[in-house]
Symmetry: C2
Subunit: 221 residues, 2 copies
């Protein structure tokens, strides 16, 4: 992400629960998440919520809203968060002066899309247990890249309700699945901590593969 340093600007803080970006608005700012967790989600007209992705330190927030000039989703902090605001005017202007930056931003956007795609596949074609396992593994892999996790586990501030909204399940079922996985000696999620009880067996169970997460940065190094 080092290439993106040039963009960092004003530092800001948001508390858990207060929307950063609101569905339907236009002319939003983009941010880079410095500390804490956030999530991007969509609310359906009938009130149902689908969480599209969680953002962890180092991730962009609201990039798509800025580029498309309108927001099709909302973003809210899961914990209190720190962000650095990226000025829209800058973003486009800077493309002219620093084409490498344009490539870096495009890379970030593509990585983002790849994560959404993987998520889509999980919801569409994986059973609930594999889905939960795969999701927690993927989160772990992402966190490891930024030094916040390992093959042992990681701190995870998500509630079972959030997990359910992300995975297209009911919170009741998420609870049952977590119990099942714990009883199988695969993974434990308790008191805000995810522990991989048997990483290799879990990877096999969830049919987890890294693919795009192998890449650690934009092409141009």
């Amino acid at each position: 992400m080092c290439v993106l340093e040039g963009l960092h600007k004003r530092r800001r803080t948001f508390v858990a629960g207060s929307d950063l970006v609101h569905q339907g608005q236009s002319d939003q700012s983009a941010y880079i998440l410095v500390s804490g967790w956030a999530c991007s989600y969509k609310i359906l007209p009938d009130g149902e919520r689908q969480i599209v992705d969680f953002q962890i330190p180092g991730d962009f927030l609201g990039l798509r809203s800025v580029v498309l000039h309108t927001s099709d989703h909302s973003i809210e902090p899961v914990t209190d968060i720190e962000v650095t605001e990226v000025y829209v005017s800058d973003l486009f202007e800077v493309f002219s002066n620093t084409p490498r930056l344009a490539t870096a931003v495009l890379w970030a956007a593509s990585r983002d899309e790849a994560m959404v795609v993987e998520h889509l596949v999980g919801i569409g074609r994986r059973g609930a247990s594999e889905r939960v396992a795969h999701f927690l593994l993927e989160l772990g892999a992402r966190l490891s890249i930024v030094g916040l996790g390992s093959k042992a586990g990681y701190d995870c501030p998500l509630s079972q309700y959030l997990l359910a909204d992300a995975l297209g399940l009911s919170s009741v079922h998420v609870n049952r699945v977590l119990r099942h996985l714990r009883e199988q000696g695969l993974i434990t999620f308790r008191d805000g901590v995810v522990t991989f009880d048997d990483y290799d067996r879990l990877v096999e169970f969830a049919e987890f593969e890294l693919t795009y997460l192998d890449q650690v940065g934009p092409l141009l190094k």
Copy 2:
């Protein structure tokens, strides 16, 4: 899409069924679809397939594979297709000379992601009937933009099997849902043609909203 004209290069043809991009490969080309339909999908280790999106004329093919330098998905033509190849070397080089182009490509990538997100929401939180209805409406809206559809309907070369793989349903269930929608006088999909029998009522039923599809082009005009 006019801004992208500068990229158009060699014209090529692919027949239905032959992969353009194959999951796991690196150093792919990107293409712009000129005529016909394609689909991007992922195969899970257990053989299950999830179709991520369908591409129609004007859409990019394989852009993400190029940017991430590795392909996490496959793309195959649904019908025979014509494409124009976009040389990778060009794509990045040209960013330096034509920053407007970089913005246009980023816009295309973002629009792509927005479609995947909408798809994700559908699979995660909509019932089968609403999901099918919404999907066919969205396809119609996209086709209308490039002059291949209207509020009356459109030609659609998809089989019920493809639809099922896209929507995370079984083909049997897709069939039942289509019958149900037809009997409700909402929409008819038969012999390769989608007909909106009652567009307004269908929109209401599916809770369809346009949002990002309102936008017809990159910010910079």
